[in-house]
């Protein structure tokens, strides 16, 4: 019905699929369709979940997954261009802020230029990189791209393409500006991320994000790996949500195979997800305290996180990278000590949380450093695609566990922590309170794990039926999605990870502008991005 309306509006559009429909349009109608989907009363697709570049052999294009935060439906939009020499598509970066960096990513991987995009630079790869690696005809030989030992200069100018195909250059920083590098080796960027910050005294005027320092090309690697082989790579995206990310990938593959996993597996996976969330949020708390200069608090957090890691290690054999989920179940049954240790931990943590509050949450210095700093409005959060605790602090109830329950989240009672202020302090509070909620979930599940198998048998060679699949879970810092395009082979045709931290990094320039350097650190700390997940 809705599809009919769209087709009536944009005559060239063609709809496919039924559950999550795909609307295919010509590049010329792409913007009109995007505008219609965003603004029409019946569609209201205000949230761009992910944008994927795609190489269809003779044509290049993008697949965009849109979602309506009010109506809850999802729709794919696909547009392709047959010009492989100079592919160009209209930009939608002015409609959804998150498209800004995503289009740069597509440009980086596929060489598609987005006309009207203000900043068409490479995002992850070096500026002198030859070719576009995710194109199917990419020359991956060492001759094309030898290991370069000289440093990659970051130019102060950027390019934007006009609709008519012309180019304009624009300088990022003025000559007068005091530009300071924060990163790639900096204690507060939590990894190798680099900000170029223009300062006026202590005040931040502009932030230019440079990613890609630990870009490993995981999406490209996945195209050459079988499904069981790519699982360990999912753990290595956001190492603090390793289990959740692997959960998403397994769910996506299982959904494609229409594989029903035993109830026991769902319970174990849910418990593991929450343990992982606990460890991640405890680490968030610790590192934020350290960023703000309270080094003692940092050790308190790590002391307690160690206990979560021990619980996980006993069952999964891994501390950070666990390799526990497999297609059709988990790799081993839970350890006999598992439930006892979780119960001990549920008793242990609350008094410690009280100490956390005494040392940091209530502290007047910490409060003043976070309250009212880096305010992200609900509209901006949706437009930038800032999900997870950071989005919920802005009043956007975006918890995938509630919106599209997986595992056994529909069977447990927990509260979705939502604040409306959207400042750093609320982002901090959401996570601290989610620690308590995670404990509650664990409490409800740990005694009720049903008996049964811990995995179902799968075929030795797994081939996904043809089609496109998207499945998302609530990672520790937002919605983590896996998009698989299969052509029925044992390797995916295109695989895209909807990163949780990527939108968080893209929002930093917006939040930091006008604040102080110290606030930039606090904003980065409370957004809690993990760099390997950004760079992939």
């Amino acid at each position: 019905m809705l599809i009919d309306k769209i087709v009536a509006k944009i005559p060239g559009a063609r709809a496919e699929g039924n559950e999550t429909p795909t609307i295919v349009v010509a590049p010329g109608d792409y913007r009109a369709l995007a505008l219609f989907l965003r603004d029409d009363e019946e569609t209201r697709c205000d949230f761009m979940v992910c944008m994927t570049g795609a190489d269809r052999g003779e044509s290049l294009g993008v697949v965009v997954l849109l979602e309506s935060t009010t109506l809850g439906h999802r729709v794919y939009v696909e547009t392709t261009t047959t010009d492989r020499e100079h592919p160009a598509l209209p930009t939608v970066s002015d409609l959804w802020e998150t498209a800004n960096l995503n289009e740069r990513e597509v440009y980086d991987y596929f060489g598609i230029r987005f006309s009207g995009h203000p900043d068409m630079r490479r995002l992850f790869l070096r500026n002198d990189w030859v070719g576009y690696p995710l194109r199917k005809d990419y020359d991956a030989s060492e001759a094309a791209n030898p290991v370069r030992l000289e440093s990659d200069e970051s130019p102060d100018v950027t390019l934007s393409c006009r609709e008519d195909g012309g180019e304009e250059t624009r300088s990022l920083f003025d000559d007068e500006e005091y530009v300071v590098n924060i990163g790639p080796q900096h204690p507060a960027t939590h990894g190798v991320l680099r900000f170029r910050v223009a300062l006026e005294g202590e005040i931040v005027k502009k932030v230019d994000v440079h990613c890609g320092y630990i870009h490993r090309g995981i999406e490209k690697m996945c195209e050459n790996l079988s499904y069981p082989q790519m699982l360990p790579l999912a753990d290595r995206l956001d190492y603090l949500a390793a289990h959740q990310h692997r959960h998403a990938l397994c769910l996506c593959i299982e959904e494609a195979l229409q594989l029903e996993v035993p109830e026991r597996v769902k319970y174990i996976r849910t418990i593991m997800d929450e343990l992982n969330r606990l460890s991640s949020h405890l680490l968030f708390w610790s590192t934020l305290c350290m960023d703000l200069g309270a080094l003692t608090a940092f050790f308190y957090g790590f002391r307690d996180r160690e206990k979560v890691l021990d619980i996980m290690e006993e069952t999964t054999g891994g501390r950070l990278i666990q390799h526990y989920n497999v297609i059709g179940g988990v790799s081993a049954d839970i350890h006999p000590n598992f439930t006892r240790r979780i119960k001990e931990f549920i008793k242990y943590l609350p008094p410690m949380l009280k100490e956390y509050d005494q040392v940091f949450t209530g502290n007047v210095i910490a409060r003043q450093r976070m309250e009212g700093i880096g305010v992200l409005s609900r509209e901006d959060a949706i437009s930038f695609g800032v999900t997870g605790p950071s989005g919920r602090a802005s009043g956007w109830a975006c918890d995938v566990r509630k919106r599209r329950p997986y595992g056994v989240y529909d069977k447990v009672d927990f509260k979705e922590i939502v604040y409306t202020e959207g400042d750093s302090y609320r982002r901090y509070l959401v996570r601290v309170k989610e620690i308590v909620e995670s404990l509650r979930i664990l409490e409800q599940l740990v005694d009720n794990i049903p008996a049964g198998d811990f995995a179902v048998k799968t075929k030795p060679v797994i081939k996904l039926p043809e089609g496109r699949y998207f499945k998302s879970v609530e990672g520790s810092r937002g919605e983590f999605g896996v998009y698989i395009e299969s052509r029925g082979e044992k390797t995916p045709y295109r695989l895209k990870f909807r990163s949780t931290s990527f939108p968080l990094v893209s929002v930093v320039p917006h939040l930091a502008r006008g604040n102080k350097i110290a606030d930039l650190i606090a904003i980065g700390g409370t957004l809690d991005y993990i760099v390997p997940d950004v760079d992939r």
């Binding site: 360990p232 790579l233 003692t296 290690e313 891994g318 005494q358």
Partner: protein
């Protein structure tokens, strides 16, 4: 007057929050410390038995392993960590058989994903919870897993192979 009130209230509330924090840290000051005294505690230090330290080819007391050099682990490894060298041998009955010459494992590039051990049809591989693996060069991380002079165990061998 209101602002003066707020000034004073804020001042004392702030001061109180600082003192509360100092009380808590002082309490922790006298608590038991959590530092692990490694390497002094090497004797008592027990790793979780599922911890994946390194891959081993299981051998029994008579220096026999179960690897039939089928190469499934080699194919399955996502990082090309495993290299098998084998040769075709004709046994007494005249049947041609693959025999393992060298099972080479690059510890440095192992992802510990367990695909090799999980897919091994002979259950000849396992991970052991050792952890002191530091060496000075990467070459030293490439291990030969089959021991010197080891042979293939006959079919109905006892299941209890050990490291």
């Amino acid at each position: 007057m209101n602002s003066v009130n707020r000034y004073i209230v804020n001042f004392f509330a702030g001061l109180r929050s600082l003192l509360v924090g100092m009380r808590t840290t002082l309490r922790v000051f006298f608590r038991k410390k959590t530092t692990e005294r490694y390497p002094e505690n090497r004797k008592e230090l027990v790793m979780f038995d599922r911890f994946r330290g390194e891959l081993v080819l299981l051998h029994d007391s008579e220096n026999r392993h179960k690897c039939i050099a089928c190469g499934i682990c080699e194919v399955n490894c996502p990082n090309s960590t495993i290299r098998l060298t084998s040769e075709m041998v004709t046994d007494e009955a005249g049947k041609k058989k693959k025999v393992l010459i060298e099972y080479s494992y690059d510890h440095g590039s192992c992802l510990f994903c367990q695909l090799c051990a999980r897919t091994c049809p002979q259950r000849a591989l396992d991970f052991v919870p050792t952890f002191e693996h530091a060496v000075f060069t990467r070459e030293k991380l490439v291990h030969k897993l089959n021991r010197e002079g080891s042979t293939l165990a006959p079919k109905p061998v006892a299941e209890n192979l050990t490291v």
